[in-house]
């Protein structure tokens, strides 16, 4: 029994360090130099979160920014009156972010300003955001979003979240699968569901309120939907054979999925209100991994109808099927970017499985990753980065790459195998 309690203690200790940590492996060649000055705070004890550090880390992770180290800063201004452009210009700083945070009645109120050092002008004046003590990280992510958008012109996705699956498969213990929810930077991981049977294929609803996924808890695969706020869950399918690969339509009304109830894996669309099921493919080969195109007019899917897995698209209005990928012997699990221009997928070349992106207009295919056994690409809602699962150091980990392949980072886990990432939509 003592042996057992030691095991349990060990396990709990591991839980405490469950967070994914970021390791940036490649950034753009000439990242923009930005100084994120420690936020002004006059409280008696330090804030629970270092807001400026989180902002700097967010910007650095995007690959497009090189934050100036605090130790190099000549001053820590928190208001415009204390900003001397020359001090920042001599260090080669291009942008300067300052701010101040106050606490009133248990709520935190932040004000921030962004300066273009070379142009000597204010890009954000009197930006405001407030939140509870538990939302200090959210405040930091909000400021990061505004700064990123102001400088790059692209909406920031630092306030978004990810779901993923963490698996523990150790001899002598039952398997343990966890559906996890975390901030986009891997912080604040929470368990959404825990099971001894496999969990896979999580997918966000477009309103960001629920996730659908596949669970084997009934000893067979079934598609479930779970509300993130309430934890309430519902089993949507219980057909014989495959019940898998759920994907919400852009309007959130339908769920595409794979069923083999008629003897063969086919793509279906489930109307979430009427619960009416429509079969979309009809072929004796494997049809799986549906994903809606940007405007919801069609569904891309993986099929081996040509002998090897390739990505096809079915147009819903006509039922017409066309093949999208021709480069390579194995292309699977396609996802279309929100602007409808790019298809990302698992692509095999010389026996190595990479993530690749194909321009849907020109058909040009480009390999984005340098790792092996890459799978499950999921694009950030702003289309700048994608997350995917790979193996590193003998373990399953998440990694990210920008859609132009210029930036890469890893989110290694200290414990289980991490896989099946799904990047949330914007929440507002």
């Amino acid at each position: 029994m003592r042996f057992l309690s030691v095991l349990v203690l060990f396990f709990l200790a591991q839980l405490a360090s469950a967070q994914l940590t970021i390791e940036i492996t490649k950034g753009v060649d000439n990242p923009t130099r930005i100084a994120v000055v420690p936020i002004g705070w006059s409280g008696s004890r330090p804030l629970d979160e270092d807001i400026s550090k989180i902002v700097a880390a967010n910007l650095e992770r995007s690959g497009q920014f090189a934050p100036v180290p605090r130790s190099n800063m000549l001053s820590f201004p928190s208001s415009e009156a204390d900003v001397f452009y020359r001090d920042w210009r001599v260090m080669g700083t291009e942008y300067l972010l300052i701010g101040n945070i106050e606490q009133r009645d248990g709520r935190y109120y932040a004000v921030y300003e962004l300066f273009d050092v070379l142009g000597q002008r204010k890009l954000i004046s009197g930006g405001r955001v407030d939140g509870s003590a538990e939302q200090l990280r959210d405040i930091a992510h909000h400021i990061s979003d505004k700064v990123y958008e102001s400088i790059t012109g692209i909406r920031g996705a630092f306030s978004t979240q990810i779901v993923y699956v963490e698996a523990f498969q150790n001899a002598g213990r039952p398997d343990n699968y966890r559906l996890m929810l975390a901030d986009a930077d891997g912080a604040r991981p929470r368990i959404l569901l825990e099971s001894e049977q496999p969990l896979l294929s999580p997918a966000w609803s477009p309103d960001g309120r629920s996730v659908a996924y596949v669970s084997f808890e009934t000893t067979r695969p079934a598609v479930f939907i779970q509300n993130l706020a309430t934890g309430q869950r519902e089993q949507l399918t219980d057909f014989s054979g495959l019940n898998g690969a759920p994907a919400f339509s852009p309007d959130g009304q339908k769920l595409a999925l794979v069923l083999s109830k008629d003897g063969n894996p086919e793509i279906y669309s489930l109307d979430l209100r009427s619960r009416e099921l429509t079969r979309l493919t009809n072929h004796y080969a494997i049809d799986t991994e549906p994903s809606w195109n940007a405007d919801g007019s069609g569904i891309v899917f993986t099929s081996n109808r040509g002998g090897k897995p390739q990505i096809y698209q079915v147009t819903l209005a006509t039922g017409r099927v066309e093949r999208l990928t021709f480069d390579g012997e194995y292309n699977a699990r396609g996802r279309v970017s929100r602007d409808g221009r790019t298809l990302v997928m698992v692509h095999q070349r010389n026996g190595v499985f990479h993530i690749a992106a194909q321009d849907l207009k020109t058909g040009d295919l480009r390999i984005l990753t340098e790792t092996n056994l890459d799978e499950s690409p999921t694009i950030a809602p702003n289309g700048a980065m994608l997350l995917y699962a790979t193996r590193f150091g003998g373990k399953g980990i998440l990694a990210a790459v920008s859609l132009d392949a210029g930036t890469r980072y890893r989110l290694p886990s200290k414990q289980g195998d991490v896989r099946e990432p799904a990047w949330s939509p914007f929440f507002n």
Partner: protein, 198 residues
């Protein structure tokens, strides 16, 4: 995990038994069989006990749907114990059929094994679960479909050989439950499989 662990344990013991059958006479065999089964079952109890302890003490979500996994494990252990009375030579049948990468076609080398299973199933009322698996390469849901294809191939073969279709249940686990971990061909070749579970 518990289930597959037990499965592996019994598998090793079955292979051991096959060798014993060749060497020893019938009388000493049956003693050995009971011995080995007893050992196997005691291991099963210890593992089940461990599983019970760890799952109650580490599950912090009351919603967690863990019980399904444990009950599957114990059910398969039980059915192995109850097959005591039947002929021992059938006990020693290999229960895993292997496949090539991205293929669901039965390999010629597996034919005699499948014929033996068909023979056994024709003469019994056992319900069998055919669990299809894939190696870790490629995408997960495609592998899920591939695993089902493999299990279907085994099912169709058995049905052609006169086995009652309704006694065969097909479930695919895709690449979710590797028999052997590791990112190399040796592990991959063992993971591309269908397990015949009595």
């Amino acid at each position: 995990m518990l289930e597959s662990l037990l499965g592996r344990r019994f598998l090793i013991e079955r292979n051991y038994l096959t060798q014993l059958l060749k060497i020893n006479n019938f009388r000493s065999e049956s003693i050995m069989i009971t011995k080995v089964l007893k050992q196997g079952l005691s291991v099963a109890f210890v593992l089940a006990f461990l599983a019970g302890c760890s799952s109650t003490s580490t599950t912090d979500d009351s919603d967690a749907a863990g019980s399904g996994g444990v009950s599957t494990g114990t059910a398969s252990g039980g059915s192995l114990g109850s097959s005591d009375g039947s002929s021992e030579s059938q006990q020693a049948l290999e229960t895993i059929v292997y496949f090539d990468f991205d293929q669901a076609v039965l390999l010629p080398a597996t034919r005699s094994l499948l014929l033996a299973h068909a023979e056994r199933l024709r003469n019994s009322s056992d319900n069998v679960r055919l669990e299809g698996h894939a190696d870790e390469r490629g995408s997960r849901e495609y592998n899920m479909a591939l695993g089902e294809r493999r299990a279907n191939a085994v099912r169709d073969f058995l049905v052609l050989q006169g086995v009652n279709r309704s006694s065969l249940e097909v479930v695919s686990y895709g690449e979710e439950r590797p028999l052997q971990t590791g990112s190399n061909e040796s592990a991959y070749s063992k993971n591309r499989r269908v397990e015949i579970k009595y």
